[in-house]
Symmetry: C2
Subunit: 260 residues, 2 copies
DNA sequence: CGCATATTTGAAGAGTTTCAAGCACAGTGG
DNA sequence: CCACTGTGCTTGAAACTCTTCAAATATGCG
């Protein structure tokens, strides 16, 4: 019998039903675990373990070697780079089901930090790399995932390169909206006035958007006055007019779901 | 006998020595062609052909389907996105030996355009995808390449997100320096006062750096006054002090080669 | 309740963009 | 050979957005 601490659940299982640990995993059907064949999935379950990190803790620093990879189960992990003089830029936010890690390389050039309380499911990197190289279909899924991420990063680059503060914040709100609806929500189920919660604090939002907490504050207040959103509390917002928000973001990709 | 128009060389070869077309390719040892096994390399040679595009011409527009992939042989290809109101951001510049294309997906979200006169070696996308899926080692190389590109894109994101105009231009100059030395130049061969040429016009540099041609002009003049570089002509610069330039860029990755 | 932390609000300042004009160079035609 | 025109780059001045610094307010927790 083995005991697994899986967040708020402690699961006791015996060796030949190792996969049951993953059956209770809230995101297992949205990660590579779902794409792996039965043998590979079993192997993944075998080498995986859960780690919990509290908000603000560094998981890996820049230049560190990253000896594990994994999936975010809950919370948000930030990927960032800090310049010598202290300026920092977040180059990626990893949400539940996102893959984290720097595979096939001994050092990462970015720091991984818990942007909120976080639960991650980790595998030993070397073991995972071997698994990948022995399973072309997993490698293929990984390639697709990285290609998607590359495109998303480029989209964000457009935001940083030529969009203003208002557009950046509108885009961030829409991104959160998307991610919160993402769990296979059919179009007709879209709530007319969805509610969004910031999963991370202002400072991190600012570092992600390449702006300051003051600018974010002012823009949010201004959107509230313009009746685009309603401030429920400092971190919760009701989007009164998702279509106008999308228009404001000026990014076609995010205009799709809601009419103006 | 078949005749291949390969830029300034026209190569005549017979079917069973198809690879010789690639032997004369100035970049073939820096692309995936070099990593492919003999059979795969022969197949690549078989399905490849050369295209020349003159500066300013669009190769593929956004939302277009991209039915080919390939390598840049000479010149610079720009990858960009344009917002409805005309603002544009370049999200990547592809130099000789860089891979171009949007594999395993029917539509690209970015436009490809020749930023200078360009020569590219293209393969049919579907054929290439089949080749990749049948050759795990090519798929692996491709994965590594995409991972490297993802990191490079994230580095550039730091630039756009939190660095000022001066740092951006210094970084761009250093990037050009790197690329021009990249052909396996050993450290002791570094010229003390290297010369750099802008391969693309000011407008495209501005679109890449998220700034304007005026700002670039002012910064270059100011660097010239500060004796960091010497303006040979509008597009050619002698870097008087590469170390100070690197310091100015404030990006550790680019500080390595030259002492301050 | 009081302290620490996080967010909002205000006013001044810096850096960049914008608009407008000037300059330099290449190609064309008289 | 020289004006003419077009294009691309530089320079100047004004305008604007965002940041910075400072203070006020709100929120959370022992």
């Amino acid at each position: 019998m083995a005991e697994f601490d899986f967040g708020d659940r402690v699961v006791q299982i015996n060796q030949n039903s190792l996969q049951s640990k993953c059956d209770t995993c809230p995101i297992h059907n949205r990660t590579m675990c779902a794409f792996a064949g039965e043998d590979a999935a079993r192997e993944l379950a075998m080498i995986s373990r859960t780690r919990r990190i509290s908000a603000g803790q560094t998981i890996v620093t820049e230049q560190d070697s990253l000896d594990f990879v994994g999936n975010v189960v809950s919370g948000v992990v930030k990927l960032s780079k800090t310049l010598e003089d202290g300026r920092q830029q977040i180059v990626g936010l990893l949400f539940p089901s996102d893959f984290m890690g720097h595979i096939f390389s001994d050092h990462t050039r970015f720091a991984y930090e818990a942007a909120s309380d976080v639960e991650i499911c980790v595998f030993d990197r070397k073991a995972f790399e071997t698994l990948v190289q022995n399973n072309p279909e997993i490698q293929h899924e990984l390639l697709l995932k990285v290609l998607t991420e590359l495109d998303a990063t480029r989209e964000w680059m457009v935001l940083l390169g030529c969009q203003n503060a208002r557009e950046r914040i509108a885009s961030f709100l829409l991104m959160l909206l998307r991610r919160s609806l993402q769990t296979g929500c059919p179009k007709e189920d879209l709530p007319p006035n969805p509610t969004i919660r910031f999963p991370i604090n202002r400072k991190n939002i600012a570092l992600f958007l390449g702006t300051t907490i003051e600018t974010i504050s002012r823009q949010i207040q201004s959107m509230s006055k313009a009746r685009i959103l309603k401030i429920i509390d400092g971190n919760t917002f009701e989007i009164i007019n998702p279509g106008r928000l999308a228009k404001m973001a000026n990014h076609e990709e995010w205009l799709e779901d809601y009419p103006v």
